[in-house]
């Protein structure tokens, strides 16, 4: 059908079709470079992937947090044991708190981008760097207030 059409308009159907095939094939055979260890990701990409990773971390931490809450409400002994957690447990807790802060701040950044605020490249890069820093600063600040 296609060939007949091309013949009808006086074109060399065979050459056009093979050229088309070659182009389609070419688009499928384009080099794909996805070596994550050698790609230099821009800061917004790092913030984005950390949003996913911290989200996953927070999901996995839910049972541990529920366990802490249940123990702390089980009686005065349970409350005392939660209030005197070991240093390794506190360090893990601090890491989870950083994860929450990062997820929170990058989430707010995504909400603003949804509202067309800060979409241009310069602002997006700046806000990504700000989010990355804010997560760390907020965690340190919380630690300082607590101590």
């Amino acid at each position: 059908m296609k060939q007949a059409l091309f013949l009808f308009v006086g074109l060399d159907a065979q050459s056009i079709l093979s050229e088309h095939d070659a182009m389609t094939k070419k688009s499928h055979n384009r080099p794909v470079f996805l070596d994550l260890t050698r790609i230099q990701m821009p800061i917004p990409a790092i913030v984005s992937i950390l949003h996913r990773l911290t989200g996953l971390l927070l999901i996995l931490m839910v049972p541990f947090l529920l366990c802490l809450l249940e123990t702390s409400l089980s009686g005065s002994e349970g409350y005392a044991s939660v209030m005197s957690l070991s240093l390794p447990a506190l360090l893990v807790g601090l890491f989870v708190i950083w994860g929450l802060f990062h997820h929170l701040f990058s989430g707010i950044r995504f909400l603003l981008i949804d509202l067309d605020i800060g979409v241009d490249r310069a602002t997006a890069r700046g806000s990504a760097a700000a989010v990355l820093a804010a997560g760390v600063v907020a965690t340190i600040l919380l630690l300082v207030i607590w101590l």
């Binding site: 999901i59 839910v62 529920l66 409400l73 005392a80 909400l111 207030i145």
Partner: protein, 111 residues
Amino acid sequence: MSGGLSGQRAWLLQRLSAALMVVYLIYVVQHLLFRPPTDFAAWQTWWRGGFMALSSTFFLLALILHAWVGGRDIILDYVRPLGARITMLCLLGAFLIFCTLWAIRILLVTT
């Protein structure tokens, strides 16, 4: 999938639940920072109070829906074989239901 939590509905749900959780977290964190619990009795009274139990239940609901949409997105992006994909989705769903029931027992069933 059009009736489920996908597409624009999931997108909107993800943002609404996020906003609700931010409000709750601001309240809880400011309370813990400025009026830290002094002993077990104060801690228990705070959690057993109607306001905290109610807002925590709403927070929990938002958290579980948010975790489902986010976790589902991650699984659909990285797990391509159908069998593995369905298994992972089922595991995530069972995990979240388990957490929900456990949290309800902690929050609403007074011991």
